[in-house]
């Protein structure tokens, strides 16, 4: 069965929380619940003047890939609003074809209809 998911370009995610809030307000999630959650690595100095400071958002159990929006011809709201344009939506095959550089990750979120 076709898998649908999110492609995250974590080279450019700057941890702005827009994806989390977009998801939360659209789905009406309560405090402490998100469809997508941000994780942080660093900041840490790996070698002099070389810093690792990375954010990666990961879809949670609550992510429904914005089924309602997608049915209406829109993009998932985290994809639409991501300030770094660092999230893409599609089938994992489509997303894999877009992986053309380091620091990208695909989350396979659910089976297609």
């Amino acid at each position: 069965m076709t898998q649908y998911g999110l492609l995250i370009d974590y080279d450019y995610c700057d941890g702005c929380h827009a994806c989390e809030v977009a998801c939360k307000v659209d789905h009406g999630f309560q405090e402490g619940f998100d469809g997508i959650q941000l994780f942080q690595i660093g900041p840490r100095e790996l070698s002099p003047d070389h810093w690792e400071y990375t954010y990666i958002p990961a879809p949670t159990e609550l992510c429904d890939l914005c089924a309602e929006r997608v049915a209406a011809g829109k993009l998932p709201t985290c994809v639409h609003h991501c300030q770094s344009l660092a999230i893409e939506y599609g089938t994992v095959e489509e997303l894999a074809a877009r992986v053309n550089k380091p620091k990208m990750v695909i989350f396979s979120v659910k089976d297609g209809a």
Partner: protein, 753 residues
Amino acid sequence: MREINQEVYKDKLWQWQEGEYTVTRTSQWSGPGCHQGCGVLFYTKDGKVEKIEGDPNCPVNNGRLCMRCLDMLEAIYHEDRLTYPMKRAGERGENKWERISWDEALDIIDEQAKRIMGEYGGKAIAAFQGTGRNATWPVSSLGNLAFDTPNTGQGTLSGDCCYGPRLMAMNVVMGTAWIADMGQALEARFDDPRYRIPEYVLIWGCNPLVSNSDGFYGHWIIDVMKRGSKLIVVDPRITWIAAKAELVLRLRPGTDGAVALGIVSQMIENKWYDEEFTDEWVYGLEGLREAAAEYTPERVEEISCVPAWKIVKAAEILGHAKPLAVQWGLPLDQQTHGVSASHAIQAIIALTGNVDIPGSNIFFVDGFIQNDIRMSLLERMDPESQKAKLGCDGEYPLRSMGYAPFAMPEKVLQAIEEGDPYPIKMVWIQSSNPLSNCAADSKRWLKALNSLDFVVVADLYMTPTAVACADLVLPVAMSPERDSMRAWWTPFRAITKVVEPLGEAKCDETIMLEVGRKVAPEKFPWANTEEMRAAFMENLSSVDYEGSFEDLKHDVWYYFPFEYEKYKTGKLRSDGKPGFNTPTGKIELMSTIFQAVGLDAAPYYKEPNESPVSTPELAEKYPFVLTTGQRSYEFFHSEHRNLPTMREYHPWPLCEMNPEDAASLGLEEGDWVYLENETGKIKQKLHIHPGMLKGVVNAEHGWWFPEREAAAPSFFGTFDSQAGCLLRMGDVGPTGWGSSYKCRLCNVSKVED
């Protein structure tokens, strides 16, 4: 940018029906919000905003929104919204209020203002506005026209230390304000063949992704990074964007001038500059060379903590970068000699020739809507009344010469406290919460404001400032409840009302008009806001847009025709001659204007008045350099503290320090700490940041706790935690601009209870 489903998003249609919702395409432009006016789609139903979505067709933000606008509904329908006028029922600070009608409110204002104007003149009334959003111009215009006072402006912001100093430095050195070119001047953005991606972006004292300051959408930098731009960052802290940079100059706060002069000197000595450009378009290269010569890389390292080799490296990279775009920030305003540091940074730009070419630093010569409106209104003010503007008595010649649109905050405070040179008896505060935010030495301001006869606060919610000093509180409408228009740079944007204001709230323009018609009807000939707006639209001198407001609403946005290299075509000068809008017609590395008024013609560096170097005894007691004012995604200055979603992500006021510093004090992540200096003492939660320069503490500003007690002495806990308590008034640069908000000293200690 990605492909857009136009069946859903309807190209540029301004309004349509989508199922049960009416969708309106417009911009969201404060309050709440920020300096940006991102393109949005408001989904409304039965007179309520039901959803907000970024407009993917708007070239400004391409559909993106930050968490604040995404959380708009929480802001609009918050139970704490002010929905009717109130007058004070108890003593000031008791937070006891009586609901009144707008007519009663206008009567009270009329009576108090006329009494004060009769007894002391209009100049005894000051009008304080907040930062440059779309809520500011009606405040100063209200002061100027209704109360006949020249004393308008930010009011409590020492040395006008937000953009004012940089604006002044830009006008003096380059003749016109400039901004980094991220393709935002062109409607087709990166698809416009004229545009070039910057080879380098120099980010100086700015965290643009978070701050979106000065009409600059920070994530544009991500857009150009994806297209190949490299970064150089000057910042005491490794921000996320600094971690991406090829070179980071971590400097001690307040030493920007030395770092910039060190770079300038290296560029000149090594001939790493654009000789063709400087030969033709730059004035004072030799003078600059002499002034910068003493700033050898070693000397700069000693002053700033930036390793000497990095100064040389930065000069080499910058000297060869084409195009180079520079995005700079508030630290240049918030150091006493920041104007000179800004002069030196502009010298770097001028030496590289990265001026008004694609992908560099561009000038806008049109689209100053707010200024156009303000100036057209100012014509109705008695020019004699303007002469009494505080700060224009000759002590600071540039202020007296008309470079100051606003009264000088230090002088306003002096007038309130000492009646010198004349008393101030009434203050009008709108779109500003100075006691939690921009006021330095905020408890001193609390006392000063409480000594006044009459204080009006107009705002969205009850703020600490309103509780502490207001005699009258007026409810202000939010952006989606208001028809207005705005540009900062480009494009010209409509702000379209999609729902009626909540309760009896009124928009900023309407408040101005209604107070004006009551107090000085001869100066406000318009029957209603629509009529007034139509008059404004006809008098926009810096805009070539011919349409009415209705047209603009339907056009949603309008891009001014834009040309690069205007200095070659005479488009920067009123006489139409090629060159820059300065006395010499060139970029003035040695400023003839500064020289004419007895200031240093060349950029210079001076230690902050308070620092480990200039006041070593004080530094024993207060060993850390205190820097304040950095933004976070959740809040716009003191706004958004009452929104549960924002507080979920950012519950507490944070201060940051280096792990070694924290360890030396026995502090751990999350400890509550006192920050203390000669001015005050506050409490924040410690965040240990490995990327923070050793010896520096970074404290958040704007804090209050809407969940805490409103009445005195709590005032929503603002004085417990807001960084303004640690700052001081009067530490102003010789131009009359700039103050030390980002470089004071403080001590840090653990809160033991």
